[in-house]
Amino acid sequence: MSLKNKYDVIVVGAGPGGSMTAKTAAEKGLNVLLIEKRQEIGSPIRCAEGVGKKSLKKFFPVIKDEWISTKMSGVRIYSPDGTLVEMSDNRAVGYVLERKIFDRDLACMAADAGADVFTKTRATDLIIKDNFVKGIEGIRLGERFKVEADIVVGADGVESKVGRWAGINTTLKPKDIESGAEYLISGIPMEDLCEIYLGNDIAPAGYVWAFPKGKNRANVGIGILGSKLGEKRPFDYLNEFVKRKYRDGKIIEVIYGGIPVSRPTKTFGNGMMLVGDAARFTDPITGGGITNAIKSGIYAGEVAAECIEEGDFSEGGLKKYEKRWRSTIGEENNRSYLLKEFFINLPDGGLDVLAHSINKIRITELSVRGLMGELIDKNPWIPTGLAKLFKKKIEK
Protein backbone atom coordinates (compact mmCIF):
# COMPACT_ATOMS: atom_id res chain seq x y z
CA MET A 1 0.00 0.00 0.00
CA SER A 2 1.31 3.47 -0.70
CA LEU A 3 0.31 7.00 0.19
CA LYS A 4 -2.27 8.60 -2.07
CA ASN A 5 -1.68 12.12 -3.37
CA LYS A 6 -4.86 13.50 -1.87
CA TYR A 7 -7.21 12.72 1.01
CA ASP A 8 -10.27 14.41 2.48
CA VAL A 9 -8.67 14.46 5.91
CA ILE A 10 -5.12 13.90 7.14
CA VAL A 11 -4.67 13.17 10.85
CA VAL A 12 -1.19 13.71 12.28
CA GLY A 13 -0.47 11.48 15.29
CA ALA A 14 -2.00 8.13 16.26
CA GLY A 15 -2.63 8.58 19.98
CA PRO A 16 -6.22 8.21 21.22
CA GLY A 17 -7.11 11.66 19.85
CA GLY A 18 -5.84 11.00 16.33
CA SER A 19 -7.16 7.46 16.04
CA MET A 20 -10.65 8.52 17.13
CA THR A 21 -10.63 11.44 14.68
CA ALA A 22 -9.62 9.10 11.88
CA LYS A 23 -12.12 6.42 12.91
CA THR A 24 -15.01 8.88 13.13
CA ALA A 25 -14.19 10.59 9.83
CA ALA A 26 -13.72 7.27 8.02
CA GLU A 27 -17.03 5.96 9.37
CA LYS A 28 -18.68 9.03 7.88
CA GLY A 29 -17.35 7.93 4.50
CA LEU A 30 -14.38 10.27 4.22
CA ASN A 31 -11.05 9.37 2.68
CA VAL A 32 -8.70 9.50 5.65
CA LEU A 33 -4.95 9.26 6.20
CA LEU A 34 -3.62 8.66 9.74
CA ILE A 35 0.14 8.99 10.21
CA GLU A 36 2.32 8.24 13.22
CA LYS A 37 6.00 9.06 13.43
CA ARG A 38 6.89 6.24 15.78
CA GLN A 39 7.34 2.73 14.53
CA GLU A 40 4.98 1.34 17.15
CA ILE A 41 1.71 2.92 18.15
CA GLY A 42 1.34 3.46 21.88
CA SER A 43 4.96 2.85 22.80
CA PRO A 44 6.80 4.13 24.72
CA ILE A 45 3.84 5.23 26.81
CA ARG A 46 3.66 8.67 28.43
CA CYS A 47 0.87 7.99 30.87
CA ALA A 48 -0.30 6.59 34.22
CA GLU A 49 -3.18 4.96 32.32
CA GLY A 50 -5.98 5.85 34.75
CA VAL A 51 -9.42 6.52 33.33
CA GLY A 52 -12.96 6.81 34.70
CA LYS A 53 -15.25 3.91 33.88
CA LYS A 54 -18.28 6.06 33.12
CA SER A 55 -16.41 8.37 30.79
CA LEU A 56 -14.84 5.50 28.85
CA LYS A 57 -18.15 3.68 28.50
CA LYS A 58 -19.64 6.71 26.80
CA PHE A 59 -17.37 6.22 23.82
CA PHE A 60 -17.29 2.46 23.50
CA PRO A 61 -20.26 0.10 23.63
CA VAL A 62 -17.87 -2.71 24.58
CA ILE A 63 -14.90 -2.28 26.90
CA LYS A 64 -12.51 -5.02 25.81
CA ASP A 65 -10.81 -7.06 28.53
CA GLU A 66 -7.41 -6.72 26.90
CA TRP A 67 -7.53 -2.92 27.26
CA ILE A 68 -7.74 -3.17 31.04
CA SER A 69 -4.95 -4.09 33.37
CA THR A 70 -6.85 -3.37 36.61
CA LYS A 71 -10.33 -2.31 37.64
CA MET A 72 -10.18 0.14 40.51
CA SER A 73 -12.76 0.81 43.14
CA GLY A 74 -11.61 4.13 44.51
CA VAL A 75 -9.03 6.76 45.22
CA ARG A 76 -7.07 7.43 48.40
CA ILE A 77 -5.63 10.89 48.79
CA TYR A 78 -2.96 11.53 51.44
CA SER A 79 -2.44 15.13 52.54
CA PRO A 80 1.05 16.39 53.47
CA ASP A 81 0.65 15.33 57.15
CA GLY A 82 -0.58 11.90 56.07
CA THR A 83 -4.31 12.46 56.60
CA LEU A 84 -6.30 10.11 54.44
CA VAL A 85 -9.26 11.15 52.34
CA GLU A 86 -10.98 8.20 50.78
CA MET A 87 -13.25 8.28 47.78
CA SER A 88 -14.67 4.90 46.98
CA ASP A 89 -17.58 2.90 45.92
CA ASN A 90 -18.13 -0.83 46.15
CA ARG A 91 -18.18 -1.14 42.40
CA ALA A 92 -15.37 -0.65 39.94
CA VAL A 93 -15.29 3.04 39.17
CA GLY A 94 -12.29 3.26 36.95
CA TYR A 95 -9.72 1.38 34.98
CA VAL A 96 -5.99 1.36 34.73
CA LEU A 97 -5.52 0.70 31.05
CA GLU A 98 -2.84 -1.14 29.15
CA ARG A 99 -2.23 1.72 26.75
CA LYS A 100 0.19 -0.09 24.50
CA ILE A 101 -2.71 -2.37 23.63
CA PHE A 102 -5.49 0.22 23.89
CA ASP A 103 -3.85 2.83 21.65
CA ARG A 104 -2.96 0.25 19.04
CA ASP A 105 -6.47 -1.13 19.07
CA LEU A 106 -7.95 2.34 18.47
CA ALA A 107 -5.64 2.76 15.46
CA CYS A 108 -6.81 -0.65 14.21
CA MET A 109 -10.42 0.53 14.57
CA ALA A 110 -9.58 3.56 12.42
CA ALA A 111 -8.00 1.25 9.85
CA ASP A 112 -10.99 -1.11 9.96
CA ALA A 113 -13.27 1.88 9.34
CA GLY A 114 -11.32 2.52 6.14
CA ALA A 115 -8.55 4.97 7.07
CA ASP A 116 -5.06 4.49 5.61
CA VAL A 117 -2.59 4.17 8.49
CA PHE A 118 1.17 4.69 8.18
CA THR A 119 3.68 4.40 11.01
CA LYS A 120 7.29 5.63 10.99
CA THR A 121 5.86 8.51 8.97
CA ARG A 122 6.31 12.03 10.27
CA ALA A 123 4.74 15.34 9.25
CA THR A 124 7.42 18.02 8.91
CA ASP A 125 5.34 20.97 7.76
CA LEU A 126 1.98 22.06 6.39
CA ILE A 127 1.23 22.95 2.80
CA ILE A 128 -0.36 26.39 3.00
CA LYS A 129 -1.88 28.15 -0.04
CA ASP A 130 -3.79 31.46 0.05
CA ASN A 131 -3.89 31.28 3.82
CA PHE A 132 -5.50 27.81 3.76
CA VAL A 133 -3.96 24.60 5.05
CA LYS A 134 -3.98 22.30 2.03
CA GLY A 135 -2.03 19.27 3.20
CA ILE A 136 1.23 18.18 4.76
CA GLU A 137 4.85 17.69 3.94
CA GLY A 138 6.44 14.72 5.58
CA ILE A 139 9.16 12.16 5.71
CA ARG A 140 8.76 8.41 5.57
CA LEU A 141 11.71 6.04 5.81
CA GLY A 142 14.00 8.87 4.74
CA GLU A 143 11.92 9.86 1.70
CA ARG A 144 10.25 13.27 1.67
CA PHE A 145 6.65 13.44 0.46
CA LYS A 146 3.71 15.83 0.05
CA VAL A 147 0.07 14.87 0.44
CA GLU A 148 -2.89 17.17 -0.06
CA ALA A 149 -6.09 17.28 1.96
CA ASP A 150 -9.09 19.48 2.56
CA ILE A 151 -8.60 19.32 6.31
CA VAL A 152 -5.53 18.52 8.44
CA VAL A 153 -6.07 17.53 12.07
CA GLY A 154 -3.17 17.97 14.48
CA ALA A 155 -3.38 15.14 17.02
CA ASP A 156 0.34 15.30 17.60
CA GLY A 157 0.38 15.33 21.38
CA VAL A 158 2.25 17.48 23.86
CA GLU A 159 5.06 18.14 21.33
CA SER A 160 2.54 19.35 18.73
CA LYS A 161 3.85 21.35 15.80
CA VAL A 162 0.78 21.38 13.55
CA GLY A 163 -0.71 24.34 15.42
CA ARG A 164 2.55 26.27 15.29
CA TRP A 165 2.92 25.63 11.57
CA ALA A 166 -0.56 27.08 11.07
CA GLY A 167 0.37 30.17 13.07
CA ILE A 168 -1.25 29.24 16.39
CA ASN A 169 0.95 29.79 19.41
CA THR A 170 0.80 26.52 21.35
CA THR A 171 3.93 27.10 23.43
CA LEU A 172 3.34 26.20 27.08
CA LYS A 173 4.69 28.42 29.81
CA PRO A 174 6.52 26.50 32.56
CA LYS A 175 3.63 27.33 34.91
CA ASP A 176 1.23 25.57 32.56
CA ILE A 177 2.95 22.21 32.21
CA GLU A 178 3.79 19.46 34.68
CA SER A 179 7.07 17.66 34.20
CA GLY A 180 6.43 13.97 34.78
CA ALA A 181 8.45 10.91 35.73
CA GLU A 182 7.10 7.44 36.36
CA TYR A 183 8.14 3.85 37.03
CA LEU A 184 6.26 0.65 36.53
CA ILE A 185 7.20 -1.11 39.77
CA SER A 186 6.75 -4.82 40.34
CA GLY A 187 6.78 -6.83 43.55
CA ILE A 188 4.89 -4.41 45.80
CA PRO A 189 1.59 -4.89 47.64
CA MET A 190 -1.22 -3.04 45.88
CA GLU A 191 -4.96 -2.88 46.42
CA ASP A 192 -7.33 -2.04 43.61
CA LEU A 193 -7.28 1.63 44.64
CA CYS A 194 -5.43 4.60 43.21
CA GLU A 195 -3.26 6.46 45.65
CA ILE A 196 -2.41 10.15 45.51
CA TYR A 197 0.18 11.84 47.74
CA LEU A 198 0.24 15.60 48.16
CA GLY A 199 2.79 17.96 49.64
CA ASN A 200 5.35 20.49 48.59
CA ASP A 201 8.21 18.32 49.86
CA ILE A 202 6.95 15.31 47.93
CA ALA A 203 5.85 17.02 44.70
CA PRO A 204 5.84 20.84 44.53
CA ALA A 205 2.54 22.00 42.98
CA GLY A 206 1.85 18.50 41.79
CA TYR A 207 1.38 15.04 43.19
CA VAL A 208 2.71 11.52 43.41
CA TRP A 209 0.42 8.78 42.15
CA ALA A 210 0.39 5.00 42.48
CA PHE A 211 -2.04 3.35 40.08
CA PRO A 212 -2.35 -0.43 40.43
CA LYS A 213 -1.47 -2.64 37.48
CA GLY A 214 -2.46 -6.02 38.80
CA LYS A 215 -1.96 -7.44 42.27
CA ASN A 216 1.68 -6.59 42.82
CA ARG A 217 2.46 -3.89 40.30
CA ALA A 218 1.82 -0.18 39.94
CA ASN A 219 2.52 2.86 37.83
CA VAL A 220 4.19 5.08 40.43
CA GLY A 221 4.83 8.53 39.14
CA ILE A 222 5.12 12.21 39.83
CA GLY A 223 4.21 15.47 38.18
CA ILE A 224 5.77 18.78 39.22
CA LEU A 225 4.81 22.17 37.90
CA GLY A 226 7.50 23.53 35.56
CA SER A 227 7.66 26.89 37.32
CA LYS A 228 8.45 25.17 40.64
CA LEU A 229 11.37 23.15 39.32
CA GLY A 230 14.93 23.87 40.34
CA GLU A 231 18.05 21.74 40.34
CA LYS A 232 16.14 18.83 41.80
CA ARG A 233 14.42 17.02 38.95
CA PRO A 234 11.14 15.04 38.98
CA PHE A 235 13.15 11.81 38.80
CA ASP A 236 15.08 12.88 41.93
CA TYR A 237 11.82 13.44 43.82
CA LEU A 238 10.41 10.17 42.54
CA ASN A 239 13.51 8.23 43.56
CA GLU A 240 13.23 9.59 47.08
CA PHE A 241 9.59 8.60 47.32
CA VAL A 242 10.14 5.14 45.89
CA LYS A 243 13.06 4.49 48.22
CA ARG A 244 10.91 5.36 51.21
CA LYS A 245 7.73 3.61 50.20
CA TYR A 246 8.59 0.77 47.83
CA ARG A 247 12.05 -0.28 48.95
CA ASP A 248 11.53 -3.89 47.82
CA GLY A 249 9.96 -3.10 44.47
CA LYS A 250 11.71 -3.63 41.17
CA ILE A 251 11.53 -1.04 38.44
CA ILE A 252 10.67 -2.70 35.17
CA GLU A 253 9.82 0.33 33.03
CA VAL A 254 10.76 4.03 33.03
CA ILE A 255 8.30 6.62 31.74
CA TYR A 256 8.84 10.32 31.00
CA GLY A 257 6.33 12.97 30.04
CA GLY A 258 5.09 16.52 29.97
CA ILE A 259 1.47 17.10 30.97
CA PRO A 260 -0.21 20.33 29.83
CA VAL A 261 -2.13 22.00 32.68
CA SER A 262 -3.09 25.08 30.74
CA ARG A 263 -6.10 26.54 29.07
CA PRO A 264 -6.82 25.19 25.59
CA THR A 265 -5.21 26.93 22.62
CA LYS A 266 -7.06 28.18 19.60
CA THR A 267 -8.10 24.89 18.01
CA PHE A 268 -9.06 25.64 14.40
CA GLY A 269 -8.08 27.69 11.37
CA ASN A 270 -8.60 27.59 7.60
CA GLY A 271 -8.40 23.87 6.80
CA MET A 272 -7.15 22.66 10.19
CA MET A 273 -8.13 21.59 13.71
CA LEU A 274 -6.24 20.50 16.84
CA VAL A 275 -7.37 17.69 19.16
CA GLY A 276 -6.23 16.12 22.45
CA ASP A 277 -2.94 17.20 24.01
CA ALA A 278 -2.10 19.21 20.88
CA ALA A 279 -5.03 21.49 21.83
CA ARG A 280 -3.98 21.32 25.52
CA PHE A 281 -7.18 19.51 26.52
CA THR A 282 -5.72 17.70 29.56
CA ASP A 283 -7.46 18.46 32.84
CA PRO A 284 -5.33 21.00 34.75
CA ILE A 285 -6.12 19.38 38.11
CA THR A 286 -5.96 15.66 37.45
CA GLY A 287 -3.64 15.73 34.45
CA GLY A 288 -6.00 13.26 32.78
CA GLY A 289 -6.17 13.64 29.03
CA ILE A 290 -7.20 10.30 27.53
CA THR A 291 -10.96 10.84 27.50
CA ASN A 292 -10.71 14.46 26.34
CA ALA A 293 -8.44 13.35 23.50
CA ILE A 294 -11.04 10.75 22.51
CA LYS A 295 -13.94 13.17 22.86
CA SER A 296 -12.28 15.97 20.90
CA GLY A 297 -11.23 13.44 18.24
CA ILE A 298 -14.84 12.38 17.79
CA TYR A 299 -15.98 16.03 17.55
CA ALA A 300 -13.25 16.80 15.01
CA GLY A 301 -14.15 13.76 12.89
CA GLU A 302 -17.81 14.77 12.88
CA VAL A 303 -17.08 18.41 12.08
CA ALA A 304 -14.71 17.37 9.27
CA ALA A 305 -17.50 15.32 7.71
CA GLU A 306 -20.02 18.15 8.01
CA CYS A 307 -17.65 20.75 6.55
CA ILE A 308 -16.68 18.51 3.66
CA GLU A 309 -20.35 17.87 2.94
CA GLU A 310 -20.94 21.63 2.93
CA GLY A 311 -17.73 22.31 1.00
CA ASP A 312 -16.62 24.87 3.57
CA PHE A 313 -13.23 24.27 5.21
CA SER A 314 -12.70 27.85 6.20
CA GLU A 315 -12.11 29.03 9.74
CA GLY A 316 -15.75 30.13 9.80
CA GLY A 317 -16.94 26.65 8.84
CA LEU A 318 -14.67 24.85 11.29
CA LYS A 319 -15.65 27.13 14.14
CA LYS A 320 -18.38 24.65 15.01
CA TYR A 321 -15.65 22.40 16.34
CA GLU A 322 -14.86 24.89 19.08
CA LYS A 323 -18.55 25.41 19.76
CA ARG A 324 -18.85 21.70 20.42
CA TRP A 325 -15.94 21.35 22.86
CA ARG A 326 -16.53 24.68 24.64
CA SER A 327 -19.58 23.51 26.54
CA THR A 328 -18.04 20.23 27.71
CA ILE A 329 -14.24 20.05 27.73
CA GLY A 330 -14.02 23.86 27.86
CA GLU A 331 -16.21 24.35 30.93
CA GLU A 332 -14.47 21.59 32.80
CA ASN A 333 -11.06 22.90 31.86
CA ASN A 334 -11.94 26.40 33.00
CA ARG A 335 -13.01 25.22 36.43
CA SER A 336 -10.04 22.90 36.85
CA TYR A 337 -7.66 25.62 35.72
CA LEU A 338 -8.94 28.02 38.36
CA LEU A 339 -8.78 25.25 40.95
CA LYS A 340 -5.19 24.55 39.96
CA GLU A 341 -4.34 28.24 40.49
CA PHE A 342 -5.95 28.00 43.94
CA PHE A 343 -4.10 24.82 44.93
CA ILE A 344 -0.63 25.77 43.74
CA ASN A 345 -0.67 28.78 46.01
CA LEU A 346 -1.87 26.80 49.01
CA PRO A 347 0.81 25.94 51.58
CA ASP A 348 0.94 22.39 52.98
CA GLY A 349 -0.97 23.56 56.07
CA GLY A 350 -3.90 24.57 53.89
CA LEU A 351 -4.00 21.18 52.21
CA ASP A 352 -4.00 19.53 55.65
CA VAL A 353 -6.88 21.71 56.86
CA LEU A 354 -8.87 20.67 53.80
CA ALA A 355 -8.07 17.01 54.36
CA HIS A 356 -8.99 17.14 58.08
CA SER A 357 -12.35 18.67 57.23
CA ILE A 358 -13.46 15.65 55.23
CA ASN A 359 -11.36 12.72 56.40
CA LYS A 360 -14.24 11.17 58.34
CA ILE A 361 -16.56 11.06 55.37
CA ARG A 362 -16.57 8.46 52.67
CA ILE A 363 -17.02 10.26 49.41
CA THR A 364 -18.91 8.22 46.88
CA GLU A 365 -19.00 10.62 43.97
CA LEU A 366 -15.61 9.91 42.54
CA SER A 367 -14.76 13.05 40.69
CA VAL A 368 -13.11 16.38 41.27
CA ARG A 369 -16.63 17.75 41.53
CA GLY A 370 -17.61 15.18 44.16
CA LEU A 371 -14.55 16.02 46.21
CA MET A 372 -14.98 19.76 45.83
CA GLY A 373 -18.64 19.49 46.79
CA GLU A 374 -17.64 18.11 50.20
CA LEU A 375 -14.76 20.54 50.63
CA ILE A 376 -16.86 23.57 49.81
CA ASP A 377 -19.51 22.53 52.35
CA LYS A 378 -16.96 22.30 55.14
CA ASN A 379 -14.62 25.16 54.23
CA PRO A 380 -16.36 28.48 53.79
CA TRP A 381 -12.95 30.12 53.24
CA ILE A 382 -12.73 28.65 49.77
CA PRO A 383 -13.26 31.66 47.49
CA THR A 384 -16.94 31.89 46.51
CA GLY A 385 -16.14 32.51 42.85
CA LEU A 386 -14.39 29.17 42.72
CA ALA A 387 -17.02 27.41 44.83
CA LYS A 388 -19.78 28.54 42.50
CA LEU A 389 -18.16 26.89 39.51
CA PHE A 390 -18.42 23.52 41.21
CA LYS A 391 -22.09 23.89 41.98
CA LYS A 392 -22.89 24.05 38.31
CA LYS A 393 -23.41 20.76 36.54
CA ILE A 394 -21.53 20.31 33.32
CA GLU A 395 -22.81 18.07 30.60
CA LYS A 396 -20.20 15.38 30.02
Binding site: R38, Q39, E159, K161, G180, G226, R233, Y256, G258, P260
Partner: protein
Protein backbone atom coordinates in the same frame (compact mmCIF):
# COMPACT_ATOMS: atom_id res chain seq x y z
CA UNK B 1 23.83 26.58 22.88
CA UNK B 2 21.79 23.76 24.40
CA UNK B 3 23.29 20.30 24.44
CA UNK B 4 21.47 17.04 24.91
CA UNK B 5 22.55 13.96 26.76
CA UNK B 6 20.99 11.27 24.60
CA UNK B 7 21.66 8.61 27.21
CA UNK B 8 19.42 10.37 29.71
CA UNK B 9 16.66 11.62 27.38
CA UNK B 10 13.40 9.65 27.37
CA UNK B 11 12.02 11.46 24.29
CA UNK B 12 8.89 12.68 26.01
CA UNK B 13 8.58 16.00 24.15
CA UNK B 14 8.11 18.23 27.22
CA UNK B 15 11.01 20.41 26.06
CA UNK B 16 9.42 20.79 22.62
CA UNK B 17 6.20 22.05 24.21
CA UNK B 18 7.89 24.85 26.17
CA UNK B 19 10.27 26.07 23.47
CA UNK B 20 9.04 29.49 22.30
CA UNK B 21 11.28 29.39 19.24
CA UNK B 22 10.21 26.01 17.89
CA UNK B 23 13.89 25.09 17.95
CA UNK B 24 13.41 21.53 19.25
CA UNK B 25 12.01 18.61 17.30
CA UNK B 26 11.10 15.19 18.65
CA UNK B 27 11.98 12.95 15.73
CA UNK B 28 10.73 9.37 16.25
CA UNK B 29 12.88 8.57 19.28
CA UNK B 30 15.41 11.35 19.54
CA UNK B 31 15.60 15.08 20.04
CA UNK B 32 17.13 17.54 17.59
CA UNK B 33 17.91 21.11 18.58
CA UNK B 34 18.38 23.84 16.03
CA UNK B 35 21.03 26.08 17.59
CA UNK B 36 20.34 28.78 14.98
CA UNK B 37 16.77 29.47 16.10
CA UNK B 38 17.33 28.94 19.86
CA UNK B 39 16.79 32.15 21.81
CA UNK B 40 18.50 30.79 24.95
CA UNK B 41 15.52 31.12 27.27
CA UNK B 42 16.39 27.85 29.09
CA UNK B 43 12.77 26.76 29.35
CA UNK B 44 13.71 23.36 27.96
CA UNK B 45 16.52 22.89 30.47
CA UNK B 46 14.13 23.71 33.27
CA UNK B 47 11.26 21.43 32.25
CA UNK B 48 13.17 18.22 31.49
CA UNK B 49 12.17 15.56 34.06
CA UNK B 50 15.67 14.12 34.22
CA UNK B 51 18.00 16.98 33.36
CA UNK B 52 19.06 15.69 29.94
CA UNK B 53 19.46 19.22 28.57
CA UNK B 54 22.24 21.59 29.52
CA UNK B 55 23.53 24.94 28.50
CA UNK B 56 26.91 24.24 26.96
CA UNK B 57 29.71 26.71 26.49
CA UNK B 58 30.10 25.85 22.86
CA UNK B 59 29.59 29.12 20.97
CA UNK B 60 26.57 29.50 18.70
CA UNK B 61 27.43 28.29 15.22
Amino acid sequence: MISINRYKCGYCGACVAVCPAGAIELVEAWIEIDGESCVECNNCVKICPIGALEVSDEPKK
